[in-house]
Amino acid sequence: MDTDLELLARLREGDEEAFVTLVTRYQHPMLRLARSYVPSRAVAEEAVQDTWMGVVKGIERFEGRSTFKTWLFRILVNRARTAGSREQRHAPLEPQRAVDPIRFDTNGQWADPVDRWAEDSENHLEAAAWGPVLQSGLEDLPARQRQVVVLRDVEGLSSDEVCAVLEISAGNQRILLHRGRTRLREILEAQIAKA
């Protein structure tokens, strides 16, 4: 698979195929991210399209100081923020538990054993089978948690990169990541219990 940088070099030469490959690679992650800022899918699609236009026209401005992906997501977040600019002023983060308090006894210890999800147990997690569950689980996360989890765990950005893309502090990044991951875990757990 061509790296982003190879594709970018070809894009500078005006290579249409390189453009299509990049779009194929990032269109859905970008839509998912944009969707967490704006009220409708149509507006999200516009923000994504604007972003691609910015890339094509502004490609000379990419200096390689960040990865292409981080640069791309930053442009997108800027456009999506503008588009969704009835900007939900960020409420301070309310406390939220990682695990439902009902799961602990009065001493703060687990009331019931925690299941192992190990490879060889009957709770074995088959990556392919979990795709749809994870997708809908992500949709259910509050927008800011979803942004962080998507960028960190789905797209594999570092915490510094996520802070740069979303313009949030390292502390808030961690809080949102913690909540998002623990919420996703709960969703998987509920699915396993049903299976």
């Binding site: 453009f19 399209q49 026209k57 210890q109 925690v114 913690h178 998987l188």
Partner: protein, 84 residues
């Protein structure tokens, strides 16, 4: 020997430290206490393992393929942007 030291953490506290632990942002002392708790607590070990698998699974989400229409639209836009 087995009496709870004042600084020991309980499960309900341990689960709140998982992300900081994985991010490597716990103080050295907190990390030691957390790891000591894990060694003694199969439930919290299992919980940490579940979080790790959640992260791994999130990393397996594949982007869907682009529809041929979307691809054609974007190609056309590309040509327009280039010519502007």
């Amino acid at each position: 020997m087995l009496s709870l030291r004042r600084r020991d953490i309980v499960c309900q506290e341990a689960v709140e430290l998982v992300t900081d632990y994985l991010e490597g942002t716990l103080s050295r002392r907190s990390r030691r206490r957390f790891e000591a708790h894990l060694r003694a607590c199969p439930n919290c070990s299992a919980y940490l393992e579940q979080i790790r698998m959640t992260i791994d699974l999130a990393g397996t989400i594949e982007p869907e393929d682009l529809s041929p229409e979307a691809r054609a639209d974007l190609t056309e836009l590309y040509r327009r942007w280039r010519s502007e």
